[in-house]
């Protein structure tokens, strides 16, 4: 098989508050024989907040990030759902509006770049499923996670709005009944937990301005997984991870019930199953103790 090679847009969180996500991404990529070219020129995607302030500026900056992936001639892989939303949304809007694309390219010309629309943009979760395949993953598992009930937490921006999902993923999944993360859990040998909150919002994006709302949504999500008898949760999004892992105190207070579960990044779960060195998966960076490794 030809070696897989992607342009990696790390986003800001993997480089700062979730270092374990960056570590486990690299460890898993090595195990799977994937080459990742990090886009060190990339700026922040705006996290859908810069978009609230200045929509055009956010389009220009995201187009610049994508242009660097295009220069490599590679698919851009993201490891954060919100990075995925904002880059894929930029691509969607520019590819469907020639006038807007020309306006953005006028700005990019100032720095000698051009957005062409030639690179696909996809989240690492879907890159693995589409390009490696679950059957191959299953074959590669050395430590099946068969003793664990694992609750998938999808994160909004990978599954909604679905028109972006359709553009970035070979087999688009339903935002109402997503299966990719469940399938990956099963491929790793684990038991997937079905619960109502798995495709709901963690509240991250309103944490500062509406802390009670955000904490209630976080609490409901963890409570749903606990009621589903989960041993731990897994998510492809570092922002969901931050909410579910570090905000358990506020979440418990908001819903009037003590809630906490270990929360693993999708890459950490895969790393465990593929037999990566546990130190390379960064479990020591979690606030809610990962008590089973």
């Amino acid at each position: 098989m030809k070696k897989l090679k992607y342009a990696l847009f790390t986003g800001c969180t993997a480089k700062q508050s979730t270092p374990e996500q960056m570590m486990s991404t690299m460890a898993v990529a090595e195990k799977l024989g994937i080459e990742l070219i990090e886009l060190t020129e990339a700026s922040c995607c705006g996290a859908s907040h810069l978009q609230d302030y200045d929509d055009f500026l956010s389009l220009v900056l995201n187009a610049r990030n994508i242009a660097y992936a295009e220069k490599h001639g590679l698919t851009m892989v993201t490891i954060c759902n919100t990075c995925q939303l904002n880059t894929a949304m930029t691509k969607h809007r520019l590819d469907n509006n020639a006038e807007l694309k020309a306006k953005v390219n006028e700005k990019l010309a100032e720095i000698g770049l051009e957005y062409k629309g030639t690179s696909k943009i996809t989240h690492f979760l879907y890159a693995i499923i589409d390009d490696i395949g679950l059957d191959k993953i299953k074959e590669m598992v050395v430590t099946p996670l068969s003793q664990f009930n694992i609750a998938p937490f999808y994160g909004c921006h990978n599954i909604r709005p679905s028109e972006l999902q359709n553009e970035s993923h070979d087999k688009a999944e339903s935002p109402y009944n997503p299966t990719s993360l469940d399938d990956l859990i099963i491929a790793c040998g684990g038991q997937n937990v079905d619960y109502d909150e798995k495709n709901k919002c963690c509240g991250f994006h309103a944490e500062l301005q509406a802390p009670k709302t955000a904490a209630t949504l976080t609490g409901n999500a963890i409570a749903g997984a606990m009621d589903g008898n989960a041993d731990w949760m897994v998510t492809p999004c570092p922002l969901c991870h931050l909410k579910l892992d570090t905000q358990t105190h506020h979440a418990s207070k908001a819903i009037g019930r003590e809630v906490a579960l270990p929360v693993l990044h999708m890459q950490q779960m895969l790393g465990l199953a593929l037999g990566c060195d546990q130190n390379a998966l960064g479990m020591k960076h979690h606030l809610t103790k990962v008590n089973f490794v």
Binding site: C12, T13, K15, Q16, S17, P19, T40, E41, A42, S43, C44, G46, A47, S48, H49, L50, Q51, D52, Y53, D54, D55, F56, L57, V60, L61, R64, K107, L108, E110, I111, L113, C156, H157, R160, P161, S162, S174, P175, Y176, N177, D196, K200, C201, G203, F204, H205, A206, L208, Q209, A210, K212, T213, L217, T246, Q247, H249, K284, H285, H286, L287
Partner: protein
């Protein structure tokens, strides 16, 4: 016209039943039915009433996706019953479906809910053009095609409530205005004939306002008319900054803080962003921040790896910014 053969499949419906005048608690009734591939969800509601139980209650009127009366939930997903094909539903959910009203806590009788909160919030945004009208105008007051385009798809809303009762913020904070009300606010703010002075400021109030949106995209996903309410919420934010009307609070600083951080580092300074947004309010984040620091989850500003070719980013921020704060 589709030339597909009509097929039939058995589906088990678990249907929410409740009569606020008689029942202490709601209950679910099971109906097993043969469903044909040409039916929509509304046909199922009709058949429950006509073939099984005449007391089964639901709202319906136009049957053409325009009156907005028949929105309900199927397996927890808001849907306009007259537009939703059973073939799609079976493809998505298989042969077990739970039929519920849009909001269980607002149920009055079976599928019928008290939609009072929706209408109150809708009314509160003044969903009409506000202006001093000349009672005897010399000419018609026309919109140019470009001006009409600016209203965008916001004008397509049929007030069915699908997005309002799918919104997780409405669910946990009854004060929150909700996506439909904000889309309506945008519809009239974007209308050049409108002269209202307070609507934009009112909907941007903290607490019940447009800033509490969690950006989950549920509203865009469920809308049967593709109004895309979350996009309109973003546009209401943008208008505030474009018109220089944004007052400094944690929400506006949170948005502006990204530009400041990007200008300085290319990437985000996460700690710096929270400090800039919260100001003195930063105190409440200290306990968690200390724990995060002890686990190596906080990067001090001097250790942040700035984006390569930062000068390009700074040049673009300078040349492409359109907003004011």
């Amino acid at each position: 016209m589709s030339t597909n053969k009509i097929t039939t499949q058995k589906v088990n419906f678990k249907v929410f039943r409740f009569n606020a005048d008689e029942d202490y608690l709601p209950y679910y009734e099971d109906y097993a039915m043969d469903v044909t591939s040409e039916e929509v969800v509304l046909d199922i509601l009709n058949r429950i009433k006509w073939d099984h139980d005449g007391s089964f209650s639901y709202r319906r009127s136009c049957r053409h996706g325009i009156c907005g009366a028949c929105a309900i939930k199927v397996n927890g997903r808001s849907t306009l019953a007259c537009k939703e094909s059973m073939t799609d539903m079976i493809e998505l959910w298989g042969d077990e479906m739970t039929i519920e009203p849009l909001s269980i806590k607002r149920a009055v009788k079976d599928m019928i809910i008290d939609k009072g909160d929706f209408w109150e919030k809708h009314d509160a945004v003044k969903p009409f053009v506000v202006d001093e009208i000349d009672e005897t105008p010399e000419t018609e007051n026309l919109l140019s095609p470009a001006e009409a385009d600016a209203l965008d798809d916001a004008d397509l809303c049929i007030q069915c409530g699908a997005c309002h009762y799918a919104c997780p913020v409405v669910e946990v904070n009854e004060e929150f205005m909700g996506p439909a009300a904000f889309a309506a606010a945008y519809r009239f703010e974007a209308d050049v004939r409108d002269g209202d002075k307070s609507r934009l400021i009112d909907v941007n109030q903290m607490g019940s306002g447009v800033w509490d949106c969690v950006k989950c995209y549920e509203c865009a996903q469920v809308c049967p008319k593709e109004v895309n309410p979350i996009e309109k919420i973003g546009k209401l934010h943008n208008m505030l900054f474009q018109q220089g009307k944004a007052e400094s609070n944690v929400a506006t600083r949170h948005a502006v803080g990204f530009e400041k951080s990007i200008k300085k580092n290319g990437v985000l300074d996460e700690g710096g962003l929270v400090l800039y947004s919260e100001m003195a309010g930063i105190v409440k984040h200290v306990p968690v921040a200390l724990k995060m620091f002890s686990k190596g989850k906080i990067t001090p500003p001097w250790s942040i790896t700035k984006s390569k070719n930062l000068d390009e980013i700074q040049k673009l921020v300078k040349s492409s910014t359109t907003a004011k704060f």
